[in-house]
Structures are given as C-alpha cells and as structure tokens.
C-alpha cells in the first residue's frame, strides 16, 4: 500500500466514522438508545442522567440508576401534564467522560434537565449545563462547588454536616483520641476528612495519626503497626469497600480491640456484621418505606445515595409540572426557577425539604448503629 493510498484510506475512514456518529445521533441509534420511558400524546420531557455504571463506583451508580427508575415507575402518569423519558449514560466516574456524556445528552438527546452523580463529574457537568441553560441536579456531590451558577444544584448532605455531627457525637461519648484511615485517591474521603479537621479545631479531640492509603491496597499491617500503640479510643475508617473490611479484619487480627467508626462509609459495605455494635454518622437517612420499596423491587437493599437519586427525579418532575402548561415543554429557565424555589418537598430522604439559596438541598446527617447486621438510626 502506498503512502498516498494510506492517507486516502485514513481520510475516508475518518469521514465514515464521523458520518456514522452523525447519522446515529440523528436517528437515535441502531436499535434505540439506552433509555426508559414511552412517548404518547402528551409533550415529552427528556431527563438525562450521567452516572458511573462501570468502574470502581459502579455499584453505587447502578443503585442510583435503580432508584431513579423506581421513582419513574412510581410516577402517576395519567395525572401528569407531560410524558417523561429518561436517558442514561455511563461516565465511569471520570470527569472527561462526564463532559462527553453531558454534551451528548444536551446536544443529541436534547434533554430538558440533567442529573449527575458525584463531585468529579458534577464539577465538569455544571459549566456545560450552565452554558446550555439546562437545569442540573447532582445527587452525590460532597463538593458544594458543583452547585455554582444559576442552573446547578446539589441534593446531597454536605460533608460539613456529617463532620459537625460526628464531632458532636465524639464529644457526647467522651472520645478524644482518634486515628484516621483515609483513602488518598477518593474525593469523598478527602472531603469528609478535611471537613472533620476543620470542625475539630476548637475541641479537645486529638487526631493522633492519619494513615492515607491508596485504593487497591490489601495489606495494611504496616499502617496498623504504626498506630496500634498510640492509645486511640476510636479508629475512623474513611475507606470504601473492600479496603474498609480489609482494614477492620487486619486490625482485629493484630489484636486491636478499639472500636471503629466512620462518616458514611459503613454504608458501602455488604459485610455489616464486621461492624456489629459500632456507631457511625451517615448522610440523611432514607425513609423506611423507600428502603422497603427498593428492596422489594430489586431484591437487595438500596446502596448509599440511592434515595437522593429517587428524590432528585421527583424534584425535577414536580418542577416541570409546576412550570409547564401541558401544551409545550417548559423552557430551561422556567424549570430552573421552579427547582430553585422547591419548598416542603416530601421524598425518600424525609419531609419538608427545601432548596437553599446556595442551591443545596438542606438534609441533615444522622447517627446510625449496626444492630444485628443492619444499620439502625439512633438519633434523628
């Protein structure tokens, strides 16, 4: 093959690939895009969802998707002004892919509202949604910066709320010497530890040591040997699964009987018996009816943050219904105005929730305890 032929083939290849993508974008796919919902006689409102369905946090993303689909299935479709269609895209929890999925949802699927998951992707989606004038709610962001701009919101308990309650609980229980295990490549872990260190400044609580580990580490004996004789009366494990369970088991094997606790991360685990009798702080509690409904539908308990997904979809639907006349789909500005003024919202995370002027849904953290292998809320 000559050089010229190769170049020609390359150019033809590029044109063909670009054409395929263009045609598929216009037609909606070879066999239909990955979406939920049917269109009928009513105008259709399209809600785009970008979340991690592959990768390290796919377990949480899938649970969030289930909850959004559950909320969709629960809509009283006959009495709504609009039909709704959900379009899901996988971003793998990667910011650059999140930018791609957000652009696709906005410019190809022409979504009327967007839902994203987590701070890294949320921070990328926010400016894109803002520029396009599409209301965007992130249902799993610890970083409030995601809510920057007119069209961006966060429906997730802020890390500062978790940390504030955690400090209060430590003081109430007379715990003043703690050791942290954190995950250095986990934004949620970093946000919670930073918020805790800010909150603990004016107290008598001492952080004796902070051991930052990398995701994928399985042998923590060196870190444990460094901290086991420091005299801590609590080990705080800001780790996702399976590091969380591995550290706990290796602490016990090393003869450390000190209790362990966490902000949020026990909820990642499917081995809750390891933490029997341990208390922890969690972001706003999912209502029992939601847990039961989800469990009945999917045969497994909802993961952490699923209730936020359920509520987020309902907030958007309620806002669209209030903003529109049922004849034409309301504009982004109209839906946005309704989202920004949400008050007294009753959902899976409680009743009477409101959208704050900072674009954050005010939801309070709770103290929970593992009893008989099940998380139980011990303070409202």
């Amino acid at each position: 093959m000559t050089k010229t032929t190769r170049i020609m083939l390359g150019v033809i290849g590029i044109v063909i690939l670009a054409s395929i993508i263009g045609i598929l974008a216009k037609s909606g796919g070879l066999l239909g895009v990955s979406h939920v919902g049917q269109t009928g006689s009513k105008p259709t409102v399209i809600i785009g969802v970008t979340l991690p369905l592959t990768g390290d946090v796919a377990m949480l993303g899938q649970s969030n998707k289930n909850a959004i689909e559950l909320a969709y299935s629960q809509l009283d479709k006959t009495n709504l002004k609009y039909d709704y269609k959900l379009v899901f895209e996988d971003d793998g929890f990667k910011p650059s892919i999140g930018a791609t999925t957000a652009n696709k949802l906005i410019s190809v699927d022409k979504v009327d509202a967007l839902i994203s998951f987590g701070s890294p992707v949320g921070n990328v989606v926010s400016p894109i949604a803002e520029a396009a004038g599409v209301p965007h709610i992130n249902d799993f962001a610890s970083d409030p910066h995601v809510a920057t701009g007119q069209y961006n919101y966060v429906d997730y308990t802020p890390a500062s709320e978790d940390a504030k309650l955690f400090v209060q609980e430590l003081q109430r229980r007379g715990i003043n010497k703690i050791v942290f295990f954190g995950q250095q490549d986990n934004p949620g872990s970093a946000a919670l530890i930073n918020a805790f260190l800010d909150g603990v400044k004016l107290t008598n609580i001492q952080v004796l040591s902070t051991q930052m580990i990398v995701t994928g580490t399985r042998d923590f004996r060196t870190e444990i040997s460094k901290v086991k004789n420091l005299g801590a009366n609590l080990y705080v494990l800001e780790l996702s699964s399976p590091e969380l369970e591995t550290v706990t088991k290796q602490l016990r094997t090393a003869g450390v009987k000190t209790p362990v606790s966490t902000m949020e991360t026990f909820e990642f685990s499917d081995q809750l018996s390891l933490f029997e009798g341990m208390w922890y702080v969690n972001c706003a509690d999912a209502a029992q009816w939601f847990v039961d409904l989800y469990t009945k539908t999917y045969g497994t308990a909802p993961k952490f943050g699923a209730a936020n997904g359920y509520d987020t979809l309902n907030m958007i639907v309620q806002s669209v219904e209030k903003a529109g006349d049922g004849i034409t789909v309301p504009k982004g500005t109209e839906i946005n105005a309704r989202i920004g003024s949400i008050k007294g919202f009753d959902g899976a995370l409680g009743t009477g929730m409101s959208m704050g002027s900072d674009h954050l849904v005010a939801s309070k953290a709770v103290v929970r305890m593992i009893k008989n292998g099940v998380p139980v809320t011990i303070t409202p």
Binding site: L24, G29, H35, K94, A99, P127, P187
Partner: protein, 288 residues
Amino acid sequence: MEYLIHIAILISIYGILGLSLNLVVGFTGLLSVTQAAFYGIGAYVTAILLTSTGMNFFLAMLLGIVITAIISLAIGFVLSKFKDDYYALGSFGFNVIIYSIFLNWQSLTRGPLGIPGIPRPSLFGFTFSENIWFLVLSVVILGTIYFLCRFITTSSFGRVLKAIREDEEAISVFGYRTLWYKLAIFVISAGMAAVAGSLFASYITFIDPSSFTLTESIFILAVIILGGLANNKGAVLGAVCLILLPEILRFVGFPSDIAAQMRQVTYGVILILLMLYRPQGLVGEYRL
C-alpha cells in the same frame, strides 16, 4: 452539533498527545509510559495559575511547558540509564510518582477534590468560551504541533533519532552522543504533552488526578500503536479512532441494564481484532 465539536476537541487534544509520544516511542524507540504525567503537569500548572493568579492562558501554558520541560529533563536523565523493558518500567515509576504528587500535595492541587472553575482562554479581549472557537484554537495548536513534529522527524535530527531506534551502538560509533538526542526528544515530547494538558484543563474547566493515571499513559500509547508508530498521521488517526469508537458504541442499542458494560466489552474486542489483523497499526512504519 456541540457533541461533535466536543469530540473533535478531544481528538485534537489526544492528537497532540499521540504526536508527542510518537516522537519518543515511534521515532526513537524508547517505550515511555510517562506521558500522562507530563500531560498532568501542564494541566495542573495552567489550572493553578489561571485560578489563583488570573494569569493569561497562553502565558500559563508557556510556564506549563517550561516547568514540564525542566521536570522531564530530570526524569530523562534518570531514564537514560535504562534500556528496553527497564526503560518502560522506569517511566512507569515516574508516572506513579507524579500521580502521587497530584494526589497528595493537597495545599497546591487540592488532592482528589481536584481544581474546579478553570477559566477558558482569552486573547486580546476575546474569550474562547464557545466550544466552536475552542475547537479552532485546539486545531490550530494541533496543526502547529503536527508540522513541528514533521519538521523534527524529517530533519537530520530526526534521522539520528531513527538511527538510535534501529541500532544505538552503531550510531554511537559515528560519534553521535545519543544521550543528548534522547534527552532532547524526551523534553520536546514532554513540552508538547504539557500543551495538551493546558488545553484539557481550560476546556474541561475541572481537573483531578484521575485524569492523569498510568491508565491514561497506556491509552495514549494505544493511540499511537493503533494509529501506527513512527508516523505522524498515524498518531492523529489513532486519536480519531480511539475517541470516536466508544462514542459510536453509545448509539448501539444494547439493553439498558447492561449497555455500559457491553460497550466496554465491544470496545475491547474491536481493539483486539484491530491488533490481530493490523499489528503495525493503521499506517505504522515501525513495530515495537
């Protein structure tokens, strides 16, 4: 349209990365997997300067290139002690080190929380806020780097690089100090990767360490292997294919429950088939 523009911008950025890595791997025969680290340094320098000092993008990009070049010079000196597989392992180590710095120097980089709100470039009062204008900017930069690479690889300097790749001892016998050639191309390549990093940071407006992992270096390596080693057009063609392919798969109607996973599997299978039937890449002139 915005979606296609977005994809074209990503292709431009990865095209620059492919071109830069091709100088080291394709033309000089040094199997480096540090490119994501240099890409990241460029991105972080630009992001930090833009968000904390409000500096002009182009000046920040220039500083990013300079800082990356200095760091790559140090890394290149160390890597010059290694050959073949050991070179690859050494470069692997440096990628891990720099990634760890991004992750742990929290006072500067915000660690895993990343740096949000990075502004778009502006020049003489004109801001590249619309994607179409950003695409023009990134294509102009891609074109400039493409012609720079072509100039380098067709010059006598480039011929020495190819000679080093083919037989380093033989070229040394003729009095060429190969260390300096390898070091020079490594630094030039790193500087180009920094340009891609600056564009990425300013375009995406948010960066965190997850964008600059070893996996990213392997992806850039895959771009040039698929496109074709030691061929500048191949580097760009590889970027086109590897960016477009997963996007096309988004429109294939896999069942909703397993769509994301099926796309990944299909993407993997297509890459394996391409390597089986076209091991030298699409327009490659050299095989590792």
